[in-house]
Amino acid sequence: MPDWKQEIERRLAPLRLLPTREASVAEELSQHLDDHYRELMADGASAEEAQNAALAGLDRHELLRELQQVERERNWEPVTPAPSGKSLFSGLGGDLRYTVRVLRKAPGFSMFAVLTIAIGIAANTAIFSVINSLFLHPPGVTDSARLMAVRVKYEKLNLKNIGVSLTDFADVRDSKQVFSSTAAVQPANFNYTAGPLPERLPGSLVTWNWFDTFGAHPMLGRTFTQSEDVPGANHEVVLSYTAWQRLFGKDQAIVGKSMLLNGQSYSVVGVMDRDFNWPSQSEIWVPLGLAAKEYGPDNRFNESYDAVARLAPGVSRQQAEAYAGVLSQRVASNSDDYGRYARSSQWGIFLTSFSELIYGDLRMPLMVLAGSVGFVLLICCANVAGLMLAKSSGRAKELTIRIALGARRGHLVRQVFVESGLIAACGTAVGIALAVLAVRNAALIAPEGSIGSLAAPIDRSVLLFSIAAGMASALLFGLAPAWMIAGAKTFEMLKEGGRSAMSSKGRQRVRSTLVIGEVGLALVLLVGAGLFLKSLIRTQQLSPGFDARGVMTGAVSLDAKAYASPERRQAFFTAVTQNLAAQPGVEAAAAAVGMPFGDMGGASSFSIEGRPLAPGDPGSHSDISVTTPGFFRASIRNPEGSGTEQLTIY
């Protein structure tokens, strides 16, 4: 069999094909000639006749002309759509189609680049969805930016941010020119015995316009009316979606039916939407039902409630804050005891945004996390930029020829950005999907109650953020290869075109910069993560001031009718704690309204017997917890607290 390859390569030589391409074409053509030769021989031709006839089919001029045309199309293809266009976007469709083909031809690179960006986008999307859900658009709240939490401070007593008294609430509620709606809430648990097992339902006592203040609407039925928020008439209940689903199996006809809470009948008037969850964990809401006198001046410094207020239309937050100062000043300027106490303790009402109050503690950690994932995205961009640089070095010859043939440099730069844009677009899409999974799984593995109320949906704001992050990434990681093309001198490119781009000093400098940047960012993240872990370990080792090991807690709510008198309540708790204390293995037992780090006790002023107040001293004011004897000694094992041993229930 003749050796065709040498002859074929001689005929292909003027085309100056890439070596791999030339080898592939030569191999295929020589096979064709082999087949043809074999067939001619089988038909009786001599070896020489067969060789000549086979080669005749490979006319040199025809082959060159046809292949040249094909190769020219191959090299020019990316340039063809745009060169004549004046607009920045003309021929963009062609660039896009070309980029799709280029990426499909390098599936390993494309997949790695897309996944790298996807990881960066997923982390940023997940964190932003949480920030969005907590601070920008809390679920179930209409126009959350105009919803304020009303708070109280005692500067002199170092109480910077506590709940309000009913008197404070009434002051704000009656300021209709500043606040369109004001509502108060107090946590309350209810015994529910109609289910398979008796249980305590976490609930809230609220003023009648609680839901209106949030701008929330019921899914079924209605919310409370003003006439239901008075003593004796407050036997209505609004269910949360969770309670409606769990206790009543999503009964569509639940409105109007009754349920027994604390042994008393309550009429279900409505069911709230799934996303309304304020206060968080609350499964039912019942009207507060307090008499008008409770809102009088006698309760001024008894802070047992939380209050929210919606700014009236046209009123800015600054104006409302200034008005809260006026309200405080009005009390402090009185010459009565309340005024004196307000002045001496530097008491005042102030406003803070609702989401700040609820999630304020999370702001700093979330910002740190947002910064960290921002760094992760930067590292991802640097990685992909490095990959694109390496890839473009493999196309140096192509780019050189295209520039030499007249392709505009701007067009080549645009093509780099189209490629980076396409990678970023795919990465963003995959990243958003990953973020949805991440947030969903984070909620599943988080300790119960820690982020129970946290629903971080991927809404329009989150999508816009992710797309913006994706576009910024595309710009970032397209910048280095684009800069290389824009800044390279054609002459140098022609010199280097056939060789590896690694030999280019400029390219190497860019790659070095990328690597240094990546290592720097990774180091910052590593140090940050290390510090975070160390802080976490220290927090776990922090002493709360008592030994909480072996202490168990339970909660009970007494039937208001059956235990109407203090004596009966006292007898009940004495019997329960004595019985518990007598159980084998129990050292001591006690009862309390308000556990350490809990929020059930409220705050109040008090004085210490035998310790007269110095002139100007406002006296003591603190969170209050009402306990049975032995609380310190038994329940939290603090022997130093064994002096307070008298149970009095008022």
Partner: protein, 139 residues
């Protein structure tokens, strides 16, 4: 109406776009170069439609199915295969079989199938139009 307005039937288009095609008629046949050029892509796409084939097989199939009236030489067949591949209509892949030399097989792509449908329809319209003009149908 369906075909008379079809831009693909205009002669300038055919002469402009199919200038690369080279199907070699037998020497004793009348020359219809424009026509044969236009048919080359259609022939190749039709042959790889049902199953994968290598270049020599394609050229032999054209020759045998046309009873020797149509022949491709290597100098025109392979550049055409590369062009079709470049356009994404066919896809070539080197395949190595036991005791056989490595060969490059071509298969039609989804885009190629779509083009094939269009080309068949255009070709049919072209033949019908020519027949109408030359009176072959009525003969």
């Amino acid at each position: 109406m369906k075909f008379s307005r079809n831009l693909f039937l205009s002669w300038p288009y055919i002469s402009l776009t199919l200038r690369h095609i080279a199907v070699h008629y037998m020497a004793n046949q009348p020359s219809v170069s424009e026509l044969k050029k236009g048919s080359a892509e259609l022939l190749i796409l039709s042959l790889v439609e049902a199953r994968v084939r290598h270049g020599y097989e394609i050229s032999k199939m054209i020759e045998s199915r046309s009873s020797g009236d149509l022949r491709f030489n290597a100098a025109s067949l392979y550049p055409l295969l590369y062009r079709l591949e470049q356009r994404g209509w066919i896809e070539g892949r080197w395949v190595e079989k036991a005791n056989q030399r490595k060969r490059r097989y071509y298969r039609i792509t989804a885009a190629g199938r779509k083009i094939l449908r269009e080309k068949r329809s255009t070709w049919q319209a072209f033949v019908t139009a020519v027949n109408r003009v030359t009176g072959v149908e009525n003969a």
